[in-house]
């Protein structure tokens, strides 16, 4: 196997560790095209979260960066080096796996030392590096134990430790929190965030959980069917989803979608269906001028609906309560509006409501989204 150094003379710059994917493709056999033309640049020290439903190609992309999966087409650069044909051990990356992947037959200390010993580093230096990592992650008391004797959270901390002792150019996370229970997951999320602040290293974090992606990522990359749908900061992806898929995937509870037709009433445009008639005050309204008398998909997030029609009457509609979910801090309402189901979040917990009640819901200004019903792309100005 040759090692083309297409990036010019061989350089090994640990300071500049951006990761560049260009036209990256992965085929499994003739039929399964897992990753399609992915273009992505991850800047030095940036934390990028790859998020998408299972089977969207996010893990495959990560494994290609790590070198665990062959590349069918395109190019991967780590720093200045093209790493397409480099084996994983020569890429100088570290990876955390969903099931921790600790070496079961070794103590925690040996697990941490494994990678460094492979680099023929002196035991004294290894000890120093492990001490530093243990300090950051609070592993000192676990050094002599076997992975089997650790809890899930502890195992994942050891796996993180195994990454940072190596001081690699990039951290790759493959759904590292999926095996933990909800409470521990929230803790580890914070721990990873803190770790990234302390040891700023280029990181790619794969998850199917949009909350993890939003909270951890400097940038969120949403994937579906092997393609990147949108890449942007969490707020951009949340506020300006490029299509219906991203809009529905990011945010919890998920965005409500209603089939409406755009009509002109005097100077204003309205979105109208059998059960709803809303005046469009959004900036995207201008673009909707091209859609008059045509059907579109309207989206509105549950947290952007307010109980009561006290605002402008033209921005509210009638809904039929079907389920009331009391969370203590808020109420989630499951309602029916004509044929569509509409979820409402952040209803005050003291509100007295029961299934079957009629309520009036109004939309906060500027919070309506519109999508092409065929291409599902967002309709924006």
């Amino acid at each position: 196997m040759s090692r083309p150094e297409a990036g010019g003379p061989e350089k090994h710059e640990s300071c500049m560790a951006s990761i560049t994917l260009s036209k990256l493709n992965k085929h499994y056999g003739a039929l399964h095209h897992a990753v399609k033309d992915v273009d992505l640049t991850i800047a030095d020290r940036e934390f990028v979260a790859l998020v998408g439903p299972s089977g969207c190609g996010k893990s495959t992309t990560l494994r290609m960066i790590a070198g665990l999966e062959d590349i069918s087409g395109g190019e991967i650069r780590i720093g200045e080096r093209v790493v397409n044909h480099l084996p994983p051990r020569d890429r100088d990356v570290a990876m955390v796996f969903q099931n921790y992947a600790l070496y079961q037959h070794m103590s925690v200390y040996d697990n941490l030392a494994f990678g460094l010993r492979n680099k023929k580093i002196s035991e004294a230096e290894i000890k120093a590096a492990i001490d530093r990592a243990a300090e950051i992650l609070g592993l000192h008391d676990l050094m002599k134990r076997r992975p089997r004797q650790l809890s899930g959270g502890q195992q994942q901390r050891v796996a993180l430790g195994r990454c940072i002792v190596r001081n690699p150019v990039a951290f790759l996370f493959d759904e590292p929190l999926s095996n933990l229970d909800a409470k521990l997951r929230a803790q580890m999320r914070i721990e990873i965030k803190r770790l990234h602040a302390q040891v700023p290293t280029t990181s790619v974090f794969v998850t199917h959980d949009q909350v993890e992606a939003m909270t951890l990522g400097d940038r969120v990359v949403v994937m579906r069917d092997g393609r990147v749908q949108q890449a942007g900061t969490p707020l951009v992806v949340y506020n300006n989803p490029v299509n219906r898929f991203v809009a529905g995937f990011i945010g919890a509870p998920a965005m409500n979608f209603l089939d409406v037709t755009i009509r002109r009433e005097g100077v204003v445009l309205v979105a109208q269906s059998a059960a709803v008639k809303l005046a469009i005050t959004e900036p995207s309204g201008e673009a909707l001028a091209a859609w008059i008398d045509r059907p579109v998909v309207m989206g509105v997030r549950p947290e952007h609906l307010v109980l009561g029609g006290d605002g402008v009457l033209s921005r509210s509609f009638q809904a039929n309560v079907e389920v009331v979910e009391q969370l203590g801090s808020e109420i989630l309402l499951e309602t029916r509006v004509g044929q569509a189901r509409v979820t409402v979040a952040r209803v005050a917990p003291e509100t007295q409501l029961a299934a079957g009640d009629q309520v009036r819901l109004s939309v906060q200004p500027g919070r309506l989204h519109f999508f092409d019903p065929n291409s599902e792309a967002a309709i924006t100005a």
């Binding site: 790590a66 070198g67 990356v93 099931n99």
Partner: protein, 278 residues
């Protein structure tokens, strides 16, 4: 309306009776399996004259063991059997472990061909290999040699146990090896340093099975060896002579042949059970 089912006869018995019945059945089953072995041990302790009668008197002796152990051929056969079983185990494990690993971890033409090959060999009845093997051994000058007996054994082990080994490795999460690859190991290094240590219980189990299989094997040994490489199973059968059958001596030899297997099973069964469950 829920049908109230009449409790079974067993469930209606008082607790004590239930326990007794359970114990009796258990004893019955154990006895059924243990009887041949008990009878063998009993026969090995009898005088030659006592073997043929239904009422066999009360005379017992260890003389049979002494007589058998004085027979050089028997002693040589024990040594040969142990040597061949050990060598067959070592060599076949070397291949089975790596071939099982390949079958579990790699897809591609090489793995598929190998899989197909051992599948075909597994489908052929064991006994039908013996005659062709005899002719091959004759023409290659391997008849009645250690190699001539070892090679077929190793081949059989590879076919039968690669599958088991594949199953073990299928049960071991590959991400540990991926971690090793990223941590600086070669593919081979990840196998040796990470996958192998986790497969130790399975390998131990397989070792026990291999060893016992060869130790107990009769058919290959009978056909592929003559006088120069006596093994215990064949020598045991040779107590059937034109002078009659020396049941007592045969039983004494058999009891001794049981011992290593017994010890191995005793210490190995923990691994065998754990390994097979993996």
């Amino acid at each position: 309306m829920a049908m109230v089912k009449e409790p079974l006869l067993f469930a209606r018995l008082p607790l004590g009776a239930r326990r007794l019945l359970f114990g009796l059945v258990l004893f019955g089953i154990c006895f059924l399996f243990a009887f041949p072995v008990l009878w063998l041990i009993l026969t090995s302790l009898r005088l030659e004259s006592g073997v043929y009668y239904v009422h066999r008197g009360t005379e017992f002796t260890l003389g049979n063991f002494a007589e058998v152990l004085q027979d050089e051929r028997v002693v040589e056969a024990f040594a040969n059997s142990a040597l061949i079983a050990t060598l067959a185990t070592v060599f076949s494990l070397l291949v089975t472990v790596s071939s099982g690993y390949m079958l579990s971890r790699f897809q591609g033409p090489a793995a598929r061909t190998w899989f197909g090959t051992i599948y075909v060999f597994r489908c052929v009845p064991y006994i039908s290999w013996v005659l062709p093997l005899y002719f091959v051994a004759q023409s290659w000058g391997l008849y009645d040699t250690y190699t001539g007996l070892l090679l077929p054994h190793i081949a059989v082990h590879i076919c039968f146990f690669s599958w088991l080994m594949k199953g073990f490795f299928d049960g071991i999460d590959p991400s540990m090896e991926y971690a090793a690859l990223i941590d600086g190991c070669t593919r081979w290094g990840a196998f040796i340093r990470v996958a192998l240590p986790s497969a130790v219980p399975a390998i131990a189990a397989l070792g026990v099975l291999c060893w016992l299989f060869t130790w107990n094997e009769f058919l290959f040994a009978l056909i592929l060896t003559g006088n120069k490489v006596p093994v215990i199973t064949v020598v045991m059968a040779q107590f059937v002579t034109e002078m009659g059958m020396r049941w007592n001596l045969m039983a004494a030899t058999a009891v001794m042949a049981l011992l290593p297997a017994f010890v191995l099973a005793l210490f190995g069964q923990k691994y065998v059970i754990r390994g097979l469950r993996l």
